[in-house]
């Protein structure tokens, strides 16, 4: 080695920022040292890496999906024929409540946020999510809430009054014991988690985009998550307020929902659906983001109508808050009010329709490659349009009054929720699994997965439209023979079993592909967005160099490799903050190291929340360990940063 090389290496030792002076290998090694999560159990518990937290969220949400799916199968077995006695009425009540609650609060919303946690920082080209410790905290809180609810269910204290817990059935008079309290407190857990993630996503999108990713270049998935997170900010407080009121009515004798003392049962419905209807779009809009990400890649052309799609997201986000009363058409509200909400409910079909036509146009003008992700998207379009049509029917007060609380409604919302969210979600798993794991899922098993899903789903849920129209009510644990419901119910159960077979194929595919799947490489689908610019799975630092973005599909526009900016620290965790509109470089901001305090704070929150199911004093005494946890969290861990001794 020449003297010149030695001197270059010596001076490189003092370089603390990336750039041309530090070789690629050295940059990579130093960034890995700085950003890696420590190994072992302690490292696992104190991780703040958004990819690790996102993976945990995804896996946990899918576990809840399987559990709630098993409950669905139990209900379908019970209803397969008349006068069945597999389940008792009480157990059935708990099961349908747990199914809905788990699917909505513990699967659908968290899994969509989980994908955002993993993907948004990668898609906008940054090294970490905003507030990574809050992110870790949110996962632990979510996990604790879900486990609490399921332990209660196993101990026969599971909620039994429906996923929306209507009063007075859920109130202290008709809902004795602690079943409803566990439900209400599970809401608090999951909403704290969801609100935290919403703020992280909003800040990540607004402040941490790669240079050049101006607003008009943000990927549609990221737009979808931004609008969704904004909806979470305004919708979730409603359910927290209402579930807190419910728990106070039950625990300390307040009278919010007690008509005898000036309260009102419909106040519950207003507050719940002010959250509950936007909730549907909180689940659906991220799914539209999946569709808008996957379609252009497999249609092999840029998305048609980018601006229209972004505007449709915003329109849906606004209109979603004006529909809640259509859940209350049969409660005797004034006619004028009903007409307004009918109009609003029909109006929201317009932005949804715009999205559907843009997607169809993208496919029409492209050269489609029918890989598994695209199959699921096509399944989505078919099923969601059907669900949308029955939704338009339900927006009409006379029809709604007829079919309210019947299986027609069950059919409708499964078409929009499974069709609108679960099909795109499975497409998304097939699409991003290579990025998450470095391996491809099997395409052959994927096609089987899709076929079983599509056939099973329609067999299970289409008959429910007819069952509802001929009068079968929701939430009945059994029915007598001779009502003309027997065959359709049997068909629905057969469909559910086929759907379940599809889930088994999926699980087998994941299991097998994790070990034996084809090695994916950075960009196996030839996609254009930034998450495919880094390795699969991505390194701890996400991007060795912060990329510079010149268009909506940066990898398509710069086939010879993206340009980058330099000058960020390699010896400390540092992010690049950019301006909100034009994404111009503005600040180099430190990002936190791994920390155990989020977990400790989450444990303190868990003690407080669970304790307050039994005594209001838990709020007082439980706040002390929580305060300790939060102070430990925020107290600076290292002495102040010395001026940077950078040699360049």
């Amino acid at each position: 080695m020449s003297a010149r090389d030695t001197s270059a290496r010596d001076s490189a030792r003092f370089i603390r920022r990336d750039g041309p002076a530090l070789g690629e290998a050295e940059t990579h090694a130093r960034l890995e040292r700085t950003w890696a999560t420590p190994p072992g159990l302690w490292g696992w518990l104190s991780s703040v890496d958004h990819k690790q937290v996102g993976r945990r969220y995804i896996v946990t949400a899918f576990v809840f999906f399987l559990l709630a799916g098993l409950l669905a199968l139990a209900m379908r077995m019970q209803l397969a024929g008349p006068n069945q006695t597999l389940l008792t009425p009480d157990r059935y009540n708990q099961i349908f409540t747990m199914h809905g609650t788990t699917m909505m609060f513990l699967f659908a919303v968290p899994v969509m946020e989980a994908f955002a946690i993993y993907l948004v920082p990668l898609m906008v080209g940054t090294r970490a999510i905003a507030f990574p410790r809050l992110n870790a905290f949110s996962y632990w809180v979510y996990l604790a809430g879900g486990v609490m609810l399921w332990v209660a269910f196993i101990l026969n204290v599971g909620p039994d009054v429906g996923w929306f817990s209507y009063v007075p059935l859920a109130g202290p008079q008709f809902g004795p014991g602690k079943r409803t309290d566990f439900w209400a407190q599970m809401v608090t857990f999951t909403e704290v988690a969801a609100l935290a993630v919403a703020v992280e996503i909003i800040v990540t999108v607004l402040k941490q985009r790669a240079p050049g990713m101006s607003l008009n270049r943000i990927p549609l998935f990221v737009w979808g998550q931004l609008v969704t997170s904004s909806m979470v900010v305004f919708a979730m407080p409603a359910v927290m307020v209402s579930s807190s009121m419910l728990i106070m009515d039950r625990l300390i004798g307040t009278h919010f929902f007690n008509p005898a003392e000036g309260g009102d049962a419909l106040l519950w419905q207003h507050l719940f659906w002010f959250f509950g209807h936007p909730e549907v779009y909180i689940i659906f809009l991220p799914a539209t983001g999946f569709v808008s990400s996957i379609l252009p890649v497999f249609a092999r052309r840029p998305i048609f109508g980018y601006t229209a799609l972004v505007l449709a997201l915003f329109a849906t986000g606004f209109l979603g808050f004006g529909l809640w009363v259509h859940h209350m058409f049969v409660t005797g509200l004034p006619h004028l009010g009903n007409s307004f909400y009918t109009a609003a409910s029909m109006a929201i079909a317009i932005p949804s329709g715009i999205q559907i036509f843009c997607w169809l146009a993208t496919l029409w003008d492209g050269r489609p490659r029918f890989a598994t992700p695209l199959l699921f998207i096509i399944g989505f379009i078919v099923i969601f349009v059907l669900g949308g049509l029955s939704g338009i029917m339900l927006a009409s007060v006379p029809i709604d009054s007829q079919v309210h609380d019947t299986y027609f409604v069950v059919a409708h919302f499964h078409y929009v929720l499974i069709g609108g969210a679960v099909f795109p979600l499975f497409g998304a798993v097939y699409y991003w699994f290579p990025k998450f794991t470095g391996r491809m899922l099997s395409e052959r098993a994927g096609a089987w997965n899709f076929a079983l899903f599509f056939v099973g789903f329609n067999l299970a849920f289409f008959p429910m439209h007819i069952l509802g129209l001929i009068g079968m009510p929701r939430r009945i644990y059994s029915y007598p023979a001779g009502l003309g419901w027997d065959d359709l119910n049997l068909l629905a159960t057969a469909g559910a079993l086929i759907l379940a077979a599809g889930v088994l194929v999926f699980l087998g595919n994941v299991w097998h592909s994790l070990k034996y799947g084809l090695v994916a490489g950075d960009n196996p689908w030839g996609a254009g967005t930034l998450e495919w610019a880094t390795s699969s799975p991505p390194p701890s630092v996400n991007f060795v160099h912060i990329p510079v973005v010149t268009g909506r599909e940066p990898l398509w526009e710069e086939p010879n490799g993206l340009a980058a900016v330099s000058g960020l620290r390699v010896d400390q965790r540092e992010l690049l903050l950019t301006t909100v509109v034009d994404a111009e470089p503005d600040v180099r901001e430190p990002s936190p190291m791994p920390s155990i305090w989020p977990l400790l704070s989450a444990i303190a929150v868990t003690v407080l929340f669970i304790g307050s199911i039994f005594t209001p004093w838990a709020v007082v005494w439980g706040s002390i360990p929580l305060a300790v946890g939060l102070i430990g969290w925020f107290w600076p861990k290292s002495p102040p940063d010395t001026p940077e001794p950078v040699v360049e």
Partner: protein
């Protein structure tokens, strides 16, 4: 070895902290303010909703006594002046004045908590009397929770500014804390009107 990319700019000159909308914490604080403002707005909506359910409001009780709620209002509005001053000196990275401002704001915060305790005693209703009592206690309690958390936050930050941990980013924490206090005060104005004025108007 991989090829280095084409570097278009060296960002080493950028600052490592900034106040206001340039920092992530400011946006995060704004996000939580929006969440909490929504909760206040919904609780206030519930107040009006319940008011519409009864003939008389408050039902058979006196409205809360004026004194302590109004003392609280005056105290909070007056606190905006030292709060904005603290915000200004924190922008200037003036440690000595920031310390003074934080000590003053901590004292004011503790005083508001004392006044809040008297407010609860002067509501003329209990939470379990009727729906009116319930919503009045929840509204005041919700705001009290914000007071407690913000005063706690201010106290910790004050202690922090007397330790070796002072660095440029801490001044950003101070300005964000000031923003949050402004929100707590701004939230109190309509809540005060709701709790103390509205029952006397209907």
């Amino acid at each position: 070895m991989e090829r280095s990319p084409h570097f278009t700019a060296d960002l080493a000159h950028l600052p490592t902290s900034a106040h206001g909308p340039r920092s992530t914490t400011w946006w995060g604080t704004l996000g939580f303010i929006l969440i909490e403002a929504t909760a206040f707005a919904l609780a206030a909506a519930a107040y009006f909703y319940l008011m519409g359910q009864t003939e008389t409001w408050p039902p058979g009780q006196s409205p809360p006594d004026w004194l302590w709620g109004t003392v609280q209002l005056v105290l909070m509005l007056a606190s905006l002046w030292p709060n904005l001053w603290t915000d200004r000196v924190a922008h200037a990275d003036d440690l000595r004045r920031v310390r003074i401002g934080l000590v003053v704001m901590s004292a004011i915060g503790l005083l508001t908590l004392v006044v809040r305790a008297f407010e609860f005693g002067a509501l003329n209703c209990r939470w379990d009397d009727n729906a009116y009592g319930s919503i009045v206690w929840v509204l005041l309690g919700l705001h009290a929770t914000h007071l407690i958390t913000d005063v706690g936050d201010t106290l910790v930050l004050t202690v922090l500014m007397f330790t070796k941990h002072v660095e440029p980013r801490r001044f950003t924490d101070v300005t964000d804390n000031c923003v949050y206090w402004n929100f707590v005060v701004c939230a109190w104005v309509p809540l005060w009107a709701l709790l103390y004025v509205v029952p006397r108007l209907v």
